[in-house]
Structures are given as structure tokens and as C-alpha cells.
């Protein structure tokens, strides 16, 4: 068993180092981005976070915005798990593992964004339970560290186990996998809820201090996560022998239409409360939607996000549109853009602007922040690509303990 596992590891490593020239080009491109990001990050470590444009007034920015968005992507994996396992709906089941791999990549990016945002990365160990001094259960950040890492471990374990079973030509033990997969549903909800509570619990920031922040987080995540998957599934079935039925894709699109409607409704509920009651707390919404005292940096983004969201909702709502590939993919891109703006800069910046003493500091990410972020996204894509590269042949049963070696040694052009 253990020997087989080592074989599994080494064969996986050999598998990910071999591919056609498109594969190598893609990997090289990602490595280039990672190199650029690393360079920028080294500069940041040497100079301090002063190379970002964050300051005391806006103390969180692009990094934490991306972190928040990606937690949603990670959480959205359950959009596939629920129909597959709870309702035992076969067409989706085989692609559940893809959702889990997406969650792993997203979580690695999340942890990366937190890591580059802290002022003293050398003191990272202070946050490790037992070794450091985790302020649990008081600090929501302590909760977030725990749930994100547990969710990462859980997904990692399930994915590895399923692939190892496929590799060794055995059927996975349903009694082991099913409870874990079912556990991942509340875990996914919890990672995004806890991340929402991170902001939600701060009375000092009225823009975040709203009871529907966590539900809004979940609703938007359930739109943006599957949007990425829908495009990915189409790419996969074109480039690999993986069979993914139209039916599965359209079912996910249908589910997305509901969550998008709910997301828009919650956003409208929040906006109504602020704008109609018109209290002092409205200034943050004003800054986001209309600009404040001549500062309108976020305004075009905010409206782009709203319009993209609305347009995507219509495209997903009408069956004729969502079964048209062009419109479906357009809708995916629109919803992705909408949520990325809303959960990223659209959440963090107006939460902190005007600041606690009423000052407006206009924040825009610096070159360093963009470069570091690109590097982290590249790491996430790299992890996902490598996992896919190894997983697809195993899922197809083409690459197993007995057949793997032969396949590796045969000099044939590799798909993906």
C-alpha cells in the first residue's frame, strides 16, 4: 500500500513533467508571472508595505480584496457537491472532483494573499495553533485561519484519495468518502461565512456591519465559482477525453440563475436600507456608487459590476440564452467580472473610505500589488493545471499502477 503510494507520487510527478508544446508554453507563461510576482514581493519585503498604496486610512487593499473573492471561489465547489451527492445526480458526479481541485487552488491563492499582506511574514508562526498564540475564539481571523486550513486539508485528502483509488484500480470506499464530502458542504459555507464575519463584526466600519453580509457573500460566491467551472468544463471536454454531458453544464447554469437572482436581491436589500433611510452610514455607499466630495475612483467600477451582474442574470435566466454556448460563456465572463469587482475592491475600499475620522484617502493598487497578485494567481493556475494534468488520465482509467509505466515510457503526444 505504502509502496504503491510512493509509486503514485513519483508517477504523478513524471506525468506532470511531460506534455505537448502548448502545455510547456502555458507552464512557462505561469512561471514567468510567478517570477515577476516573486521579484515584486522581494522588493516589498525589503522596503516594507510602503511600496503598496495602502496607508493608515485604507489599511487593507488589493491583496485582501483578492483574498475575499477567492474564498468565495473555494466555497463554490459545493455547488457541484450538493447536486452530485445529496441528490445522487449522476451527470455531475464525475466532475465533482474538478470542483474540489478548484477549491484547493483557490485556497492556496487565499493563503498566499494573506501571507503577502502581513507586515512581518517572518512571524508567520505566531498564528499557528499551539506553537504561536492564536487568539481563539475571540479573533475572527483566528477562526478564518482554522477553517481555511481545515477545508484545504479536507479537499486535498478527498482528491488525493479518489485519484489514488483510480490509480490503483480500486473502487473508493464509499463509507469514507461520502461523510467527508458531505462534511465539506458545511465547511464550504463556514469558510465564506467566517470570512464575511471578519468584516461583519467591526462596528467601526458601518459599511461592513450589516446582518446580511454573510448571506451576500455566499450568494455571490455561488455565482462566481461555478462561472469559472463552466468555462473550464468546456475546455476540458474539448482537450481531453473526459466526457462531460451538456445536461450537466446546463443544470449548473440553471442553479446559477437562482443564486444570481438571490445575490441581486440581497444587494438591492442592502442598498435600499442604506439609501432610503439616508443615515450618516450612507456615505460609504455614496462613495462607491456616486462618489464623495469629488472623489469618483470607484464609481465606474461599481456600476460596471452592477450592469455586468444584471446582464449575466438575464442571460442565465432565459433557458434559450443559457443553452446557447456563446451567450453562456459571455454570461460566465460577465458574472465573474461583476463579483470580482464587488467582492474585491468594491467591498474593502468603501468599507474603509471615508476612514474612521472622516478622511477620504483615494486608494489604487500600486505596481507591486498588481505584480504580486498576478504571481499569486499564476501559482493558483499552476497548481490547478498540474493537478488536472495528473488527474484527468487517472479519472479516465488510462493511467493506473499497472498501465502507468507503460504509458509514461511510450513516446506519444500527450493531451492537455
Amino acid at each position: 500500500m505504502l509502496r504503491n503510494f510512493w509509486q503514485f507520487i513519483t508517477d504523478t510527478l513524471r506525468l506532470i513533467t511531460r506534455g505537448n508544446r502548448y502545455y510547456y508554453a502555458w507552464i512557462a507563461f505561469l512561471l514567468l508571472l510567478i517570477a515577476i510576482g516573486t521579484g515584486a514581493y522581494i522588493g516589498q519585503v525589503n522596503e516594507g508595505l510602503i511600496v503598496t498604496r495602502m496607508r493608515d486610512q485604507v489599511s487593507w487593499g488589493f491583496y485582501i480584496g483578492n483574498f475575499t473573492f477567492l474564498v468565495g471561489v473555494a466555497a463554490a465547489a459545493i455547488m457541484l457537491v450538493i447536486p452530485a451527492y445529496v441528490y445522487d445526480w449522476e451527470p455531475i458526479k464525475e466532475i465533482t472532483i474538478l470542483g474540489e481541485m478548484l477549491a484547493i487552488s483557490a485556497l492556496i491563492m487565499c493563503l498566499g494573499f494573506v501571507m503577502v499582506d502581513i507586515g512581518r511574514p517572518d512571524r508567520f508562526w505566531h498564528i499557528i495553533p499551539l506553537v504561536g498564540r492564536l487568539n481563539w475564539p475571540q479573533s475572527m481571523l483566528a477562526w478564518d485561519v482554522i477553517v481555511l486550513n481545515l477545508y484545504l486539508l479536507l479537499n486535498w485528502f478527498v482528491v488525493t484519495y479518489l485519484l489514488f483509488c483510480a490509480y490503483t484500480d480500486r473502487h473508493y470506499v464509499k463509507k469514507l468518502v461520502l461523510p467527508l464530502v458531505l462534511l465539506s458542504i458545511p465547511m464550504a459555507v463556514s469558510i465564506h461565512t467566517v470570512t464575511a464575519y471578519l468584516y461583519n463584526g467591526l462596528a467601526a466600519r458601518p459599511f461592513w456591519n450589516s446582518a446580511i453580509l454573510a448571506p451576500r457573500f455566499l450568494a455571490s460566491a455561488f455565482c462566481s465559482g461555478p462561472a469559472i467551472l463552466l468555462i473550464l468544463l468546456q475546455v476540458l471536454r474539448k482537450t481531453t477525453k473526459l466526457s462531460i454531458k451538456d445536461e450537466a453544464i446546463f443544470k449548473i447554469a440553471e442553479l446559477m440563475a437562482y443564486t444570481m437572482g438571490f445575490n441581486l436581491f440581497l444587494t438591492a436589500a442592502e442598498a435600499f436600507k442604506e439609501l432610503y433611510s439616508g443615515t450618516e452610514h450612507m456615505v460609504y455607499f455614496q462613495y462607491l456608487l456616486f462618489g464623495l466630495k469629488g472623489h469618483t475612483t470607484l464609481v465606474p467600477f461599481a456600476w460596471a459590476s452592477i450592469l455586468c451582474g444584471l446582464a449575466a442574470f438575464i442571460l442565465f435566466l432565459v433557458p434559450r440564452f443559457r443553452t446557447n454556448w456563446t451567450l453562456l460563456n459571455l454570461g460566465c465572463v460577465l458574472i465573474y467580472a461583476s463579483v470580482y469587482i464587488e467582492k474585491g475592491m468594491g467591498l474593502i475600499i468603501p468599507g474603509l473610505t471615508p476612514d474612521a475620522l472622516g478622511e477620504i484617502y483615494v486608494y489604487r493598487p500600486s505596481y507591486t500589488e498588481v505584480a504580486v497578485a498576478a504571481g499569486i494567481f499564476a501559482i493558483g493556475f499552476l497548481v490547478f493545471t498540474l493537478m488536472l494534468k495528473a488527474a484527468v488520465p487517472m479519472m479516465l482509467g488510462e493511467f493506473t499502477l499497472t498501465r502507468g509505466r507503460r504509458r509514461l515510457d511510450a513516446p506519444e503526444a500527450d493531451p492537455v
Partner: protein
Amino acid sequence: MTAQEPIQPAEGCASSTPGGGSRREFLGTAVAAVATALTGCGKLSHEEFLQHNFRELSKDEVRDVIARLEREYKEKYGREVKVTNTAPLPGVIFGYALDLSRCIGCRRCVHACVKENNQSRSPEVQWIRVLELEKEEGVNLQHADQYYDPAEVPREGHFYMPVQCQQCKKPPCVKVCPVGATWREKDGITVVDYNWCIGCRYCMAACPYGARHFNWGEPNLPPDQVNPDTHYLGNRPRPKGVVEKCTFCIQRTRKGLYPACVEICPTGSRKFGNLLDKTSEIRYVLENKRVFKLKEELNTQPNFFYFYGV
């Protein structure tokens, strides 16, 4: 005056020492080396890297840490910097009151504070922000201006409101810190262990008073401007990448002196003293003047009071 939140023991307990030791072994030298490489500058010593939270250090460890810091400061600034560790005085909870009818917005307090507390000079980190407000608007922060620059103060139709750490009884910053790098001392002063803070800035997001400040770059403190009388939890020179804040001049007030801002104020707007002492000036103000707390609706319960003296 008021019931206090239970405060974590400030003194290092002996039982934590063996635990600390095993943790250190667990982490090992290799990790320290990696961290040194990560921080780029290569100045990080093993001792500094492995130093535990200040509240968990034994008396001997505190002595060693302070000796190390004094040595490092001497190397860096070429002069003796004394780091004390004066404990809270028994029977003392510090309170602060600020007379809005007297403050003229001269900002001498801001600069005295920067000097006293060894803040970075460029960029200058200021713990006190003086807001210029319109009399017609009252205390409406959306109409506040921190960057007023008239030839003379006070300006017609305006009043001035200095804001600094309010030393809350229920500090949101302490609650949110993921590693317990900040806490409230027995005398009501909220402090930061600059050697334990990881720089996540969650406390800055949580503070309703904008009282926490981050060292975005390497603090620039010219050697000839160093105030050598420091406290571990107060004005000792800070590293980059950590949060800092007003400590009511802990290095002065625990020795019975006034904070630098109180001492410099030309109009006597600033009152400071022991809330538990019935004969103190601060108690007189609280009992006889019209007092209010900033953002009282957030229930942070500041020990910093604004009042109208005339």
C-alpha cells in the same frame, strides 16, 4: 470608577517557560534561517525570531530580551537607549479628559508626542490627529479636516478636536488581534508587543478612532532625535511592519509624570489622572463638567472624555 474587564496576567508565569523551550526546539534553527532569508535584510537574529509573546516570558527572559534590545538600539543609533519594564501602579486606572472649549488646534501636542514617543519622522507617524470641525455642524466627522493650514488658529467658526487612542475598556483592537499581540494593562492602557505583532492590521480596521498606525516602511528616526527613556510596551524604537499606538506615555505616566501632550498644551485643555483617586482633577472634571465620549454608541467605553470647560 467602573468595573474592569478581567485583564490577562502581565507577569510571565514560570510554568510557561518549559513549554516555551520545547516550542523553540520544535521550530528549530532551520526555520529561523528561512525566515531570515525571507525578511531580506538578514538582520533577524535567532533570539528575536524565537522570542515569545511578552506576557509569556519569565522574568529572566524579559531581562535578556531587554538587554538584547538595548544592545541593538546602541548599535543602530550609537547611543544608550534605556528600555524599562515598569509595571502598572496598583490602584491606578488612567483617565484622560480634553476640554473642547479651550483647544485652539495649535497641534503642539501632536509634535510633542512624536518627539517623546520616538515615532518615525519621515513618513511622520502621528498618534494624535487634530480635527478642525465646523461649529454649525458640531462633532460630525464627515465634516472634519485634519489638514487645515491657516496662518493663525483658531479659525472663525471652527473648533478643534484632537483624537488619539481612547484607551477603551472594551477595545475592539484587542478583541480582533489574531495572535494576542495587543492587550489592555491593569492601569487601563492598551499596549502592543512590537516583537509579537505580525502586521495583519486587523486592529486598524477594528478601531473606530483611527488610533492605530502602521510602520509601512522602515521607521526613520534620526539618532540625534531619539528619546532614550523608553518602555518596552511604549516608546522604544519600533521595527517596520508592525502596528503602534498612543500608550498615554506609559514610560512617563507609570513614573508619576504627565503624558507629553498634557505637559505641552498651552491652553490647559488636556487633563490627566487616576480615575480611582477621588481627589484627582480628572474625577473633578467628570463630576462637574458636561462630558461626552466619542462614538459612545459603539460601546467601546473609552477612558478618554471630551468636555466643555466653559
